[in-house]
């Protein structure tokens, strides 16, 4: 059961990562267009996504089970990305927040810019915990090797 759940969250984590990135890119593009700012200045917004993407790729390529099989980590990742999508959804579709009317583009930039910093903190938190889990993962491998040696 745990393995199935973990597998689901692991796949979902990748899908939601791309989904939340797409939503953020959509909103930030219009936000910077409205402010007549260069998209290069938006790099700090996307940096945590890039770091997480690199870390997930390393986990995938090196088959790091300490991260891949961690149900709590995978679930939290899904939760955070889903929250990103929900916040993006509200910024675009919640017509009750009247600031979207004068701001134009049918997007509530006020609300999204309020949310963007806490959401980035969460992404950096996930990145840091991923690195730490990667570090702890090497121990398990050594343990397995040593048990094999003892058995021999």
């Amino acid at each position: 059961m745990k393995r199935i759940l973990n597998g689901c969250f692991y796949v979902l984590k990748w899908i939601l990562l791309f989904g939340s990135f797409a939503f953020t890119l959509y909103i930030v593009t219009f936000m910077y267009k409205r402010l007549e700012k260069s998209m290069i200045e938006s790099i700090p917004v996307f940096l945590p996504y890039l770091i997480l993407f690199i870390l997930f790729s390393i986990n995938l390529v090196l088959n790091q089970k300490a991260v891949k099989n961690d149900l709590f980590y995978n679930f939290t990742c899904c939760f955070v990305f889903a929250l990103f999508i929900y916040v993006g959804y509200r910024a675009v579709f919640d017509s009750y927040m009247v600031a979207r009317i004068p701001l134009g583009y049918e997007i509530n930039f006020n609300y999204y810019s309020d949310m963007i910093s806490p959401l980035q903190i969460m992404l950096y938190g996930l990145s840091a915990s991923n690195i730490l889990l990667m570090f702890t993962g090497t121990k398990k491998k050594e343990k397995v090797e040593s048990t094999v040696k003892v058995a021999k």
Binding site: F72, Y73, Y96, M97, I101, Y111, D114, M122, G125, T136
Partner: protein
């Protein structure tokens, strides 16, 4: 030593994931609460409302005062062009006061914050823009326009002051309504402010409408007396 460090790292990593999880849960709950908060509707009953009744009565009287005006029968102190301009300005005000948003709102029993925002915008764009600034301000320039009328010349300053206050009557409300999109740490005070602004804002705009209607009615009374007496 390394094992100890690795164990320590594991504890820190789980503590971090826990913090992120708690932070995300907090934001999700805050957002859900905020979403339900701003989408709440307030029921209004305009049937027995004194402000609405006053607006309706005034509009009826204005329309009655302006009806049957014929410039060819007018032989008063004002020139034909001036009296026709006065008629035209008052007719513009009637059209502005009967704007589409106002008419739509009359049919509603429940209003949301979006309705109040649109109602206020309609007041600013239609009533203030087209009636107060474009039309009523003409009546305050009796001396400049060489309008030989005692009533307009005597009330020029007071009318001017009154119209100035109407221009900014609901300006504060716009800032308050836009605030509903910016706060995210809900407090009881912020919540009650959003709720109160829907109801109070609605009646504030309605009251501003009534003020404009009363001025237009007053001027239409003058127009009626001026045109009927000079026939």
């Amino acid at each position: 030593m390394i094992d100890f460090l690795k164990e320590y790292c594991k504890i820190i990593s789980y503590a971090l994931i826990g913090l992120v999880f708690a932070f995300a849960s907090f934001f999700l709950l805050v957002n859900l609460y905020h979403a339900s908060d701003v989408s709440r509707v307030v029921s209004v009953n305009l049937d027995g409302d004194s402000a609405m009744q006053s607006i309706k009565d005034s509009l009826n009287r204005i329309e009655a005062n302006l009806a049957d005006f014929d410039v060819n029968r007018y032989h008063g102190n004002l020139t034909s062009f001036q009296i026709m301009t006065a008629d035209n300005k008052l007719q513009n005000c009637v059209a502005a006061l009967n704007n589409e948003t106002f008419q739509n709102l009359l049919t509603k029993n429940e209003i949301s914050i979006v309705d109040v925002y649109e109602f206020r915008e309609a007041y600013e764009n239609e009533v203030v823009g087209k009636c107060v600034i474009e039309s009523l301000s003409w009546f305050t320039s009796a001396s400049e326009e060489n309008i030989e009328d005692e009533y307009l010349q005597a009330n020029e300053k007071i009318l001017s002051l009154y119209l100035d206050s109407m221009k900014t009557d609901t300006s504060y409300l716009k800032k308050d309504l836009l605030n509903n999109s910016s706060y995210y740490f809900n407090t009881a005070l912020a919540t009650s402010t959003v709720h109160d602004k829907v109801r109070d804002g609605y009646y504030d705009v309605l009251s501003a409408y009534r003020n404009v209607t009363e001025v237009v009615e007053e001027l239409s009374n003058w127009f009626y007396e001026e045109t009927r007496e000079a026939e």
